[in-house]
């Protein structure tokens, strides 16, 4: 092999061009010398399950790691299926990196528990720390943010997305020293409390490289106007409150400031909004590639439509279902570059009706040839519609459809939706992620097993009829990494049919299914490199557990480091 005669530096240089983890993992398996060169040159590490490995082992393999991405809780934790204190603590990771002298620059966490102590330790320990991204995390307060602001001298990015942050009203924003001019990205949209507006303005004014700024709901429109005046170079903006008297001087000033912000390509926020002020942003819409109005229930259907008519270059759109099928028709005729669409439900506390049906989705599929990623909450869907969508959009990478009634049949034919979803998997040969809903039998899983060759993640709820359903998927989907199932009649026969398969996957979640304790124990006994965890929320295991007992929640995942030592009482690792 010619490559063996190249010095290590050349190999390293070549490997630098590999940006994806998968590619890097692949080259590391070629031979021992490639493994060695790769591991010493790896700077970015992605860990999809923080319990699959421990920090010491990770650092010993990749001593030069500078950027770490960690994911903690299982995905269904997003929907309240995992009790609090389940786990996913970042502190041990930070502690280990400090001890082992890692020069950490970036930390990206998803669904993890982050304490103020962690943030403080982080802020004091890594001199070149540049970037903190927290998504759906919890456990910290604004005191932790204050530590980051105070101590991270070269901070470029502080990105907080949908976290549960306790607000201690401690003026964390004021903790950025006057000497801090390095910020490129600041997102505090999820914070509930006040920020000092004058401090914010000064901070923005001195960070000349600021590209991305997302404000929370307390930042009023006149502050926004001043900020835009000081940061015309912004590329991504999240407006806070967008409420003002439409005829005021402030709004005029805002319009002028917006004229000068010619670089804005991404817009979000509008957490509070007076629709009469919206026309002020129309000039921005022309160049937008990404628009997220899913946090803005104050914008009504007709205003949404008026706005969208200006957005001809949109590639990504996240909205609420108030847009309606007709509005989606406007999207279809206006946004010809659209690649990703997410339509979220707005009426979660009323009667539970969605304002869109399959018609909107069909219109989008017909009008947007580049569409490859969809998340769609709707009232109903028909097989015919799904078949049409499949025909129109063979390029789906992600397709997630959620009917508000989880077992609704095709309203026209009263049939299950097997054929519709079957058409999707058959047509979309590159499909990597799929979420199902509606009335579904084992048949849909037969199709998935047969056709979904690239599928990596499958989410199932209230679907299937027998163990065959799950078996079709396990036998057919070679690239499956994550399987999560709730409220479906799959039991031990399916679970135990091919337990070796689970070592090729990141994780399996089953809740409210038919699996028994005995079957879970069998897996745990035979597969030492799988952790089988039972979540027991009180009344199940009071009497001595019978192996025939049905398990309410099971989470199993592969791990190189055995049982985790931080499991709470209600998690039993078999």
């Amino acid at each position: 092999m010619m490559m063996n005669y190249f010095p290590d530096e050349v190999l390293e240089h070549v490997f630098n061009f590999l940006t994806s983890h998968k590619d890097r993992n692949a080259v590391s398996m070629v031979c021992k010398s490639w493994y060695r060169v790769e591991r010493f040159s790896r700077e970015k590490v992605f860990i999809g399950n923080c319990y699959a490995i421990d920090p010491e082992r990770l650092i010993s393999r990749f001593p030069r790691v500078r950027s770490l991405t960690l994911k903690g809780k299982p995905h269904f934790a997003d929907f309240n299926l995992v009790p609090p204190d389940w786990g996913g603590f970042v502190y041990p990771w930070i502690e280990a990196m400090v001890k082992l002298g890692v020069h950490l620059e970036e930390l990206r966490l998803k669904r993890m528990v982050v304490s103020d102590e962690s943030l403080e330790l982080l802020s004091r320990s890594f001199v070149s720390f540049k970037s903190l991204v927290l998504v759906s995390c919890e456990g910290f307060t604004t005191d932790g943010l204050a530590a980051i602001a105070s101590n991270c001298r070269f901070l470029r990015e502080l990105d907080l997305q949908e976290n549960e942050i306790e607000d201690r009203r401690g003026h964390w924003l004021s903790c950025f020293p006057d000497s801090c001019t390095s910020l490129i990205s600041l997102n505090f949209a999820c914070l509930k409390g006040e920020v000092n507006l004058a401090t914010l303005e000064r901070l923005v004014a001195r960070c000349h490289n600021l590209r991305s700024l997302r404000l929370n709901h307390v930042v009023p429109l006149d502050t926004l106007q001043k900020i835009l005046g000081k940061a015309p170079q912004l590329v991504d903006l999240g407006a806070g409150a967008f409420v003002h008297d439409p005829d005021s001087e402030t709004l005029n000033k805002l319009k002028n400031a917006i004229q000068k912000c010619t670089s804005i390509r991404s817009l979000s926020g509008f957490l509070e909004v007076a629709p009469c002020c919206l026309p002020a942003i129309y000039p921005m819409c022309l160049n937008l590639t990404s628009l997220n109005l899913s946090y803005a229930p104050g914008i009504h259907n007709n205003e949404l439509i008026k706005l969208i008519r200006h957005c001809r270059k949109l590639q990504r759109l996240w909205i609420l279902d108030v847009i309606g099928d007709k509005g989606l028709g406007v999207v279809a005729s206006t946004c010809k570059e659209l690649q990703e669409l997410r339509v979220f439900p707005s009426d979660l506390y009323g009667v539970g009706n969605a304002a869109v049906t399959e018609e909107g989705l069909v219109a989008i599929s017909a009008g947007c040839p580049k569409l490859n990623s969809v998340l769609y909450f709707c009232q109903q869907v028909t097989n015919a519609a799904l078949i049409t969508v499949a025909k129109n959009c063979p390029n789906f990478i992600r397709f997630r459809l959620c009917t508000l009634n989880p077992t609704i049949a095709d309203p026209v034919t009263m049939q299950p939706l097997d054929e519709g979803f079957g058409a999707i998997v058959q047509s979309c040969k590159g499909l990597k992620r799929l979420s199902l809903s509606g009335l579904l039998t084992d048949q849909v899983f037969l199709y998935i097993g047969m056709y979904a060759e690239q599928l990596e993640m499958l989410s199932v709820a209230f679907a299937g009829g027998t163990d065959m359903g799950m078996l079709y998927v396990l036998n057919g989907c070679r690239k499956l990494k994550k399987l999560e199932i709730m409220d479906s009649p799959f039991g031990d026969v399916a679970l135990l049919a091919d337990i070796g398969k689970y070592e090729t996957m990141r994780s399996l979640w089953m809740s409210s299914c038919e699996v028994t304790l005995g079957a879970c124990k069998t897996i745990a006994k035979k597969m030492p490199r799988l952790n089988v965890e039972i979540i027991d929320e009180g009344d199940q295991m009071e009497t001595s557990p019978d192996d025939r007992h049905r398990v309410e929640k099971m989470y199993l995942y592969r791990s190189l480091v055995g049982h985790r030592r931080d499991a709470p009482d209600f998690v039993r690792t078999l």
Binding site: F76, F79, L81, P297, L348, Y349, V351, G352, S459, F462
Partner: protein, 207 residues
């Protein structure tokens, strides 16, 4: 707290009928069934059968109560984990309290988000802006809106959870926000039937 509440028993989940609505509880007549908010034990979706709790997480259930006939979501839909929406997003939606505003004589209605205001004064100010022909007048500490063009005065009233039409301003602000279903600016001439008010309370309710 949660241990006292009866769990939704399995037959509710499979029967397809919303039997919870017919179940006898200790609540007062007209009391709405509340939903627990944000409890992490997983029952945030199931209907809370405890009477009279006024936790901040009250949601509008009155449409379900009044009409047994229009099919409310089955108990299955109130299942934990469905619909699969992140708690963060759910909480965002919860914080909106949009109510319709009707003005006698106007051809169409508007909507306001009561959560956006802290006091009656702010709300009336917003209504004043929305229906720009009005100005607020304080008459004997009653708040009224007046159309200066024709001198017609309007009295703000609201429909509460029990379906009764009430004068705006009697109860503390937060209580008003929780119980108000919609607003109507009634012509004063029609409102004249209201009994004279008890001596006015000292201030507009603050947050």
């Amino acid at each position: 707290m949660s241990s006292e509440k009866p769990k939704v028993s399995p037959e509710f989940e499979t029967s397809g009928m919303n039997l919870q609505e017919t179940e006898l509880t200790l609540g007062l007549p007209g009391e709405s069934r509340t939903q627990k908010s944000g409890t992490k034990r997983g029952f945030s979706e199931t209907v809370d059968l405890c009477p009279g709790s006024t936790s901040a997480g009250k949601e509008e259930q009155s449409e379900n109560e009044i009409s047994g006939t229009t099919k409310p979501p089955t108990a299955k839909e109130q299942k934990v984990g469905w619909p699969p929406v992140r708690a963060f997003r759910k909480n965002l939606m919860k914080n909106c309290k949009y109510v319709k505003v009707a003005v006698d004589g106007a051809p169409y209605l508007r909507k306001v988000d009561l959560e956006m205001y802290c006091s009656y004064q702010q709300l009336l100010g917003a209504l004043e802006e929305m229906f720009t022909c009005f100005t607020i007048r304080d008459v004997l500490n009653e708040r009224r809106l007046m159309d200066p063009l024709n001198g017609v005065e309007y009295v703000p009233t609201y429909e509460d959870k029990d379906g009764d039409w009430m004068l705006v301003g009697d109860v503390p602000w937060k209580m008003f926000v929780e119980s108000c279903k919609r607003l109507r600016l009634m012509k004063y001439s029609e409102a004249i039937g209201f009994a004279p008010r008890t001596p006015p309370k000292c201030s507009s309710s603050g947050c």
